[in-house]
Structure formats: C-alpha cells, structure tokens
C-alpha cells in the first residue's frame, strides 16, 4: 500500500498545503481589525501548526517518488496540466517561511523565527527556479501541447515566481533590513518578480486565446479559473510588504525613498487589487455557468479555489493599511469568513474524492 501511495502521490498535493498555509496570514490580518477579532491571531497560529504537519507529511512521499518512481515523475512533468503543479511544493516553502516570519516569533522568539524563514526562502527559491526552467523547457520541446490544453493552472509557475519577493520583502522588513543579506534578498526578489510578471502576461495571453477560440475546458478544470486572481493579488502583497521594508530601513532602501514611492504604490496596488476583484466576479460567473451545465465534478482540483482566493484576502488586508481602511477592513472580515467556508468544503470534498478511489487511478 505504501508503495502505491508513493507512486500515485502527484505533484498537485502541494496545493492542499498552500490552501491551508495562507489562512494563517488571513487570520493574522483579520485579528488586527478590532479587539473582538484578537483570538483569530491564535487561530492563525493553529493553522500555521496544521500547515507544518501537512508540509512534513506530504513532503515525504512527494520526495520519495522522485527516487522510487522517476518514470512517473517524467510522465507528470510532460503532462500539460499536472506538470504545472510541481512548483506547488516549493511554493509551500515560501508560504511556510512567510508564516514563520509573521507567527513564528510567538512560538520560537524573533531570532530563531527569522533565521528559519530565511532557510525556507532559499529552499523555495531553488525549487521554484528549478521547476520553472524544467516546465518551460518541457513545453517548448514538446510537440504534444495543443491550444486546447491551455488552462489557468498554467499560471502556477508564474505565481510561484511572484511569491518569492513576498517573503523576500517580509524578511527585509524585519531582522534582515540592515544586514549584508538584504542586497541578496533584494536581487533574488527582483529577478523573480520580473520573471513572474512577464510570464504571467505571456501565459495569460495563451490561456485567454484558448478560452476565446477553443471554448471553456471541461468541468474538472473549472476550479483552475480561480488561479487567475492570484498574480495581481500577489503583486499587491509584494508592493505593500516592500513599502514596509523601505520604511523599516529608515525610509530609504537601496536608494528607493519611502516618501517618493508610497503614493505610486498606493495607486498601482489599488488598481491591481481592482483587477483581482474583477476576476473574482468573473470566476463566480464561470462557476455558475459550469453548475448550469451540470459539469462541476468533485476533483482534487477543488483546492484551486483556496490559495488564490486567500491571496486576494491577504491583499485586501494589506491594502487596508494604506487606503480605504474602514471599507477594506469590513471586506476583509467578510472574505475571511468565506475563506473558512471554502476551506472546510474542500477538506470534506477531498475525503469524499479519496473514498471514490480516484487517488489510486491518476489520469495521464
């Protein structure tokens, strides 16, 4: 049985860790809104601990599969949908690092938490860039990729690069601002940001083309539409964390002055948040369409509804620190409640999906 689990433990399982990890941040931000929400900080800590357990539990079979079943890995890498889920595990490192950065000091104190989050940062960076190159190479060399394969899970590699500067900026915001590591974090973050933004635009155009000229994908891929909310939401998160990092460096980081960039950040972040909000409504319209066609089956891919939406909630909470605080705080609390409802639904859905035995019959 153990060998069968390893053999079928697909790259997509990282999405479950991602969907759980980001809740610790949505909870932490919600706890700051008003005194009655203070316990949410500790609930966030509970989600952080659950994420840690899930990360360790999933990382073991995920890693063993590379050594025990390399042919399965190769098959998955060449798959036009499943292949894109490989970066989800390195993304988990970045998210675990971000959780450690924000909530770790409650468990281990600041010194240990900030060092541990840096270890997560470098593990994540190595994994994300490695899979990023592997996937682009596979797509470019493969002759089997067709227009109709394009779907929003193709956004996962760009999203994986965009998430690197979030932890980079979080780390510069605290302990590492004045150290020799700060330029290293800055350069890696900026490279990843550039790769992420431009890949998001290129891939977005390809997927958009498919949706217009080749129709919508079948219902099993319906949840991937939610991934489209993530890139701009993550850029918003980065921008606000970066501005906080500049503030933490006495108002000037690498010659970038807080007072001169803050107004621009507010405008750009608000506009990008607006795009994510627009996309959320688009996802609801598409979701309604799939339901009407009775084509929304229970699949593991439901996890795609969690992390991207949570990223949008985090973006809402952080944007509230800069503009329209009262309005966005109200929205944050409402959306955070929705996050929990979606997460609980998906956890129960996953168990129902497992009961059907779908885990042991992967479709290539």
């Amino acid at each position: 049985m153990f060998r069968r689990i390893i053999k079928n433990f697909g790259p997509e399982w990282g999405a479950a860790v991602m969907g759980t990890a980001a809740i610790c941040i949505t909870m932490q931000l919600s706890s700051e809104v008003a005194r009655p929400f203070s316990p949410l900080l500790y609930v966030g800590l509970g989600f952080y601990l659950l994420t840690t357990v899930m990360l360790v539990a999933f990382l073991i079979p995920w890693t063993l599969r590379f050594f025990m079943y390399p042919e399965e890995i190769k098959k998955d890498l060449q798959h036009p949908i499943r292949g894109n889920f490989f970066p989800t595990m390195p993304i988990c490192f970045i998210l675990a690092g971000t959780g450690t950065n924000k909530l770790g000091p409650m468990l281990f104190g600041p010194w240990f938490a900030y060092h541990l989050s840096i270890v997560f940062f470098f593990l994540g960076v190595i994994g994300i860039f490695t899979f990023g190159f592997l996937l682009v190479r596979t797509q470019f060399l493969s002759e089997g990729v067709k227009h109709e394969h394009a779907n929003f899970s193709w956004f996962i590699p760009p999203v994986s690069h965009l998430i690197i500067p979030v932890l980079g900026a979080c780390s510069m915001d605290v302990y590492w601002a004045e150290t020799s590591l700060a330029p290293v974090l800055f350069v890696i973050s900026m490279i990843a940001l550039g790769v992420g933004i431009l890949n998001f635009l290129f891939v977005g155009a390809a997927v958009w083309h498919r949706y217009i000229y080749h129709g919508m994908p079948e219902g099993g891929l319906a949840p991937t539409a939610m991934v489209g909310i993530a890139p701009t939401a993550i850029i918003v998160i980065f921008l606000i964390k970066f501005i906080q990092a500049i503030e933490a460096s006495h108002g000037s980081l690498f010659g970038i002055n807080f007072m001169s960039v803050f107004p621009l950040v507010k405008i750009v972040a608000s506009a990008l948040w607006g795009f994510s909000f627009w996309w959320l409504i688009l996802v609801i319209i598409l979701f309604h369409n799939y339901l009407k066609m009775k084509s929304h089956p229970l699949v593991f891919g439901w996890w795609a509804y969690t992390f991207p939406f949570e990223a949008f909630v985090v973006a809402t909470g952080l944007l509230a620190k800069c503009v329209a605080t009262h309005f966005l705080h109200g929205m944050l609390i409402t959306l955070n409640t929705l996050v929990i409802i979606i997460w609980i639904t998906v956890v129960f859905g996953t168990f129902k999906w497992l009961e059907r035995g779908a885990f042991l019959k992967p479709q290539h």
Partner: protein
Amino acid sequence: MKVRSIIIALVIVLAPFIIGISLFLVKGSEAIHAKAHFMTDTRENNKGITHKGIKADWAFCPDYEYKPLFFHAEKYLVFMFHYRNDNEYSVQLMPSYTFASPGNRRYSANEEIAMYIEDELEEKLKANDETPITFKVAPNATKHYIVTFEKPKDLKQFYIDVDVFRDVTLRIRYKKENSTWENYKNELIKKYKGRG
C-alpha cells in the same frame, strides 16, 4: 461519506480552531505571556514635544517581557506614542521608528511582537493602537501607536528616532542610572535633504 472519513475530516477542520482558542485562553499563563513591569508616560509631567501643532508624547516600558510558547521569555523596549493634533485641520501621519545604541546597533521596530502584545498594552493604557501605515488625526483628537524594539543585553544607553514630521526627526534619548531609565534629552533634528 464513511463515518471514518467524516471523523478524520472533522479533526483536521477543527484542530486549528481548538489549538487557537486554547492558546488564546491560556495566554497570560506561564506557557505564553506578556508582562509590563514598569511604565512611564511623558503626559504625566508634560515632557512631550510639540512641532507644527502636533504634540508627541510617549509611554515607555523598558522591561516588557514576552514569552514565546517554546522558548524562554525575552525583554523588549516598548513604547506607545500618542499624537495629538492641536491644529484646526486634520493631518495625515506616517510615522516610522528606529532604535540606536552604542556598539553600532541600529534597527527598526519589531511589528510582530507589537502585534502580539497589543491587547494587553491597550488594556493597560486605555488607548487603541493604529494599525495602518498612515492614518488621519482630526483636530483636537489623539491617536496612539505601539512600537516594540528587541532589547540588547547590557543596554545602558540608547535613542529612538521618530520620523513623524516632514522636516525634522524627533530623537528621544534614554540612559540607565541606578537601575532606572532616565529620559535625559529630547531633540528635533533637521533631516538631510540632499540628492540620492
């Protein structure tokens, strides 16, 4: 769904909430706590500084103890700044804070620790901490901001730079004399406005 699956799913779903609520209820116990030992407030002896109609005051606790769950307690320097707007119009504030001490130590405030101890401090000082990076202060209103710094061992002297005014930095200086912290000097320092 099978009963076994429902039970496992319920355990997963409820675990973070049960852990979180339990930790929230036991905070203040020996396992995880925050304690303020001694506190001064410049409002008591009118020692704050006024610049361009903004009166800046601060409460200071030199030994605020915070104990993480798995590690030993550490002491922090905690301030709660009070900004009162004496102008006839609203002002938008965007303060930032830097700690400096001999030994070439210079670092920013620790937002995370400030977030964890916020409730206790608000309760003690009967004031609400502002969370946004930038906030508006209406005429005759006062807003409060909690600032926490990690405390180096054997600290005898330090200053805090408060960047809240556009043209000057408020520098507040403390030194330890006979085991008590004295706020011996406060000054407004002109900001460097060169190129680069």
